[in-house]
């Protein structure tokens, strides 16, 4: 009778060992499954982040390309260094055509356009992302890398001309109609008693260009 009991005991022991083994292996497999699942989920999240980041970079790059294109378009409205001698030649041509005499013409170097605070309300400008410092002058964002920063620069040309009132008006009109951006300021017309109706006219003609900030005086 003991033999049968021992036999049953052994069978039971083996069955228990087998079940324990299966359970242990099953638990191990389950653990492996969840670990793999978690790793894959984490990988998926990271890949999504990477894809989003790449998309953002692409969007940003597109934005940069658009800004560059805008800048190039803007440049077309301005003078470049090669245009200046031709323009000065052109002024002589306009003077002859307008029957005015250029008495004096002095050019200066390009300098950065400094916008006085009085030009507009500083707080409004700041709201538009434009920095206005306490010295009443606009200053660009210091975070922008200095060596690559472009700025709108103006080259003042002090001019003295002589001519009749109508000739002076025609001359100024000819200059103002130039395709490129330029401004006339500080106009002063004075009567010359010796050779009236010839008048003396002083004014400042400014032509504009995009220049690297490091290359010009502020």
């Amino acid at each position: 009778m003991n033999k049968q009991k021992n036999l049953h005991k052994n069978r039971f022991g083996l069955a228990v060992a087998f079940v324990v083994f299966i359970l242990a292996m099953g638990a191990w497999a389950l653990h492996g499954y969840y670990a793999a699942k978690q790793s894959l989920a984490a990988l998926d999240v990271q890949r999504t982040k990477l894809a989003r980041l790449k998309t953002e970079i692409k969007t940003t790059q597109d934005s940069i390309d658009r800004l560059k294109a805008e800048q190039e378009e803007f440049k077309k409205l301005l003078f470049n260094d090669r245009d200046v001698p031709a323009f000065i030649d052109g002024i002589s041509h306009f003077a002859a055509k307008s029957k005015v005499r250029i008495m004096d013409m002095k050019t200066q170097r390009f300098s950065q356009i400094v916008v006085p605070k009085s030009f507009s309300d500083a707080s409004k400008m700041e709201n538009r992302g434009i920095i206005v410092d306490t010295d009443n002058e606009y200053k660009p964002d210091p975070q922008v890398e200095f060596k690559n920063r472009l700025t709108l620069a103006a080259m003042p040309i002090h001019m003295k001309i002589k001519g009749t009132f109508a000739a002076i008006v025609f001359f100024l009109n000819s200059i103002e109609n130039d395709r490129q951006l330029l401004t006339v300021s500080n106009v002063e017309i004075t009567r010359n008693t010796q050779d009236y109706p010839q008048l003396d006219c002083d004014f400042i003609l400014k032509i504009y260009s995009l220049e690297l900030l490091k290359d010009i005086k502020t």
Partner: protein, 477 residues
């Protein structure tokens, strides 16, 4: 085709049948007996006999069948009242323990009971564990499978099913060496069993033979009195080769008519000595797939248990291996996936670090461009406002709106739009007219005197004046 060796084992000899089993049935290869002392005191005797027999006959034996017919076993009958199974087991054990050779030894037993008229008749057989273990060990040493063991003559009656054995209770007298069994059976069931330790030795002594015969007749008479049934026929199992006329001797000298039990003729063509009947019992059961009343595997449970245990261990090990391999593969796959995912994560993190660096540079570049754009926009807006005043138009307007009585000596407009007129007039009214004209001018506003002086030139009063005004900030282009 299989070759079987079926043996009857007693203390002094082995009687065997070598049989070939094919789809045609059983064929006798050989039969014989060997005088060998077999038992726990002769380890290796049985296994050596089997090996030598196979070697001598140049046979590969596929299976062994054992019949144990010895005085150190018990085949016995009990007659009891109605008892529970537990009590019955206790009674059987106690009954066996009364036998001196079983008193101090472990033993295994088998029994069957049948009830007749409120009587519980129990037929039992028992073997000491020592003998069983010895047999198992011997069988194991042969390396030949053995799954049937008969404790003679428990299952003999189960083979007696032909028409000759169906006329009421009949008896089989089994005369063996040192042992005689008298089995009364009916419908293949043992009704009564009687065993005496007198065997073939009676042939040497007529008085002993007579005494043996009287004992058997008394037993038969006792059965008839007890059951009120007469045993119709007697059958005899004996060694015909040793005593060819013994059945006739019984009839004539002892008045006990017994026919030779030739049941082996049902399965073998050969006329086999009835003495081999006991040896053939387990073989015939197995080959003919007859279910025995007393299990032929009962005493081999130890071996079978061992086999089962080994099989169970092998099965479980195989299951563990297969399951382990499958789960191991799955675990390995998950581990591989996890490690690959971790490696991919590192790659992605590295790429992300690169992209973030690139992103930082690009964002910085974009911020630079945006900042420059704001700055340029602001500067351009400022310049555009400066350009709003068309000088040619402004001068034309001034020329047209200027009173004719005035002579301007200078006209100046500074960068902030402040206009300075200087001139000369003969009359104050002309200067006042100029101021009024400024108030309604399309390009000037806020006219005011700067200075006014009077002097005489060529005896005429001449007024020199200075007037300040502002260029209108709106409405001109």
């Amino acid at each position: 085709m299989n070759t079987y060796l079926s043996m009857e084992v007693d203390e002094q000899k082995i009687r065997y049948l070598l049989v070939e089993h094919s789809i045609k049935g059983l064929g006798l290869i050989g039969a014989g007996e060997s005088m060998i002392q077999v038992g726990p005191s002769a380890p290796g005797a049985l296994s050596s006999f089997v090996k030598e027999l196979a070697k001598a006959r140049k046979l590969k034996i596929d299976r062994l069948f054992l019949t144990i017919n010895r005085r150190d076993t018990v085949v016995h009958q009990l007659s009891l009242g109605s008892v529970s199974k537990t009590d019955l087991e206790q009674i059987i054990v106690a009954e066996i323990e009364k036998i001196p050779s079983f008193t101090d030894n472990e033993f295994d037993y088998i029994y069957q009971q049948h009830e007749t008229k409120n009587r519980n008749k129990v037929i039992l057989g028992a073997m000491t564990d020592e003998l069983v273990q010895y047999l198992l060990k011997e069988v194991k040493q042969t390396g030949i499978p053995c799954q049937e063991l008969e404790l003679a003559p428990l299952n003999l009656s189960g083979l007696l099913g032909s028409a000759d054995f169906k006329q009421g209770p009949q008896a089989v007298i089994i005369l063996s060496e040192n042992l005689t069994h008298l089995v009364i059976f009916e419908d293949r069931q043992i009704r009564y069993i009687y065993t005496t330790t007198i065997g073939e030795e009676i042939w040497e002594d007529k008085f002993a033979t007579k005494s043996w015969g009287e004992e058997l007749k008394r037993t038969l008479k006792s059965y008839a009195l007890d059951t009120k049934q007469t045993v119709g026929k007697h059958w005899l199992v004996w060694d015909r080769d040793k005593s060819p006329e013994f059945d006739k001797y019984l009839h004539h000298d002892l008045n006990l008519e017994a026919e030779p039990l030739n049941i082996l003729q049902e399965w073998f063509k050969e006329n086999i000595n009835p003495a081999y009947t006991l040896a053939a019992i387990p073989l015939i059961y197995k080959v003919n797939k007859i279910k025995p009343v007393f299990s032929l595997t009962h005493f081999l449970r130890g071996s079978q248990a061992h086999n089962y245990k080994r099989l169970a261990i092998i099965s479980i090990l195989a299951a563990i291996l297969i399951t382990g391999a499958v789960l191991g593969f799955i675990i390995d796959r998950f581990n591989t996936i996890e490690h690959q995912a971790l490696r991919d994560q590192k790659d992605v993190q590295s790429q992300m670090a690169d992209v973030q660096r690139e992103s930082t540079d690009i964002l910085k570049e974009r911020d630079n461009y945006l900042s420059m754009r704001k700055q340029l926009l602001f500067q351009a807006t400022y310049v555009q406002l400066l350009k709003k005043l068309s000088w040619s138009r402004a001068l034309s307007v001034v020329a047209n709106e200027m009173p004719k009585e005035l002579a301007l000596t200078s006209f100046k407009v500074d960068e902030e739009g402040q206009v300075t007129f200087t001139g000369e007039a003969f009359r104050m009214e002309s200067i006042a007219k100029l101021l009024r004209t400024i108030e309604i001018s399309s390009i000037l506003e806020r006219g005011q005197f700067s200075y006014l002086t009077q002097e005489e030139i060529e005896k005429k009063k001449v007024f020199s004046f200075g007037i300040l005004a502002d260029i209108k900030t709106g409405g001109h282009s």
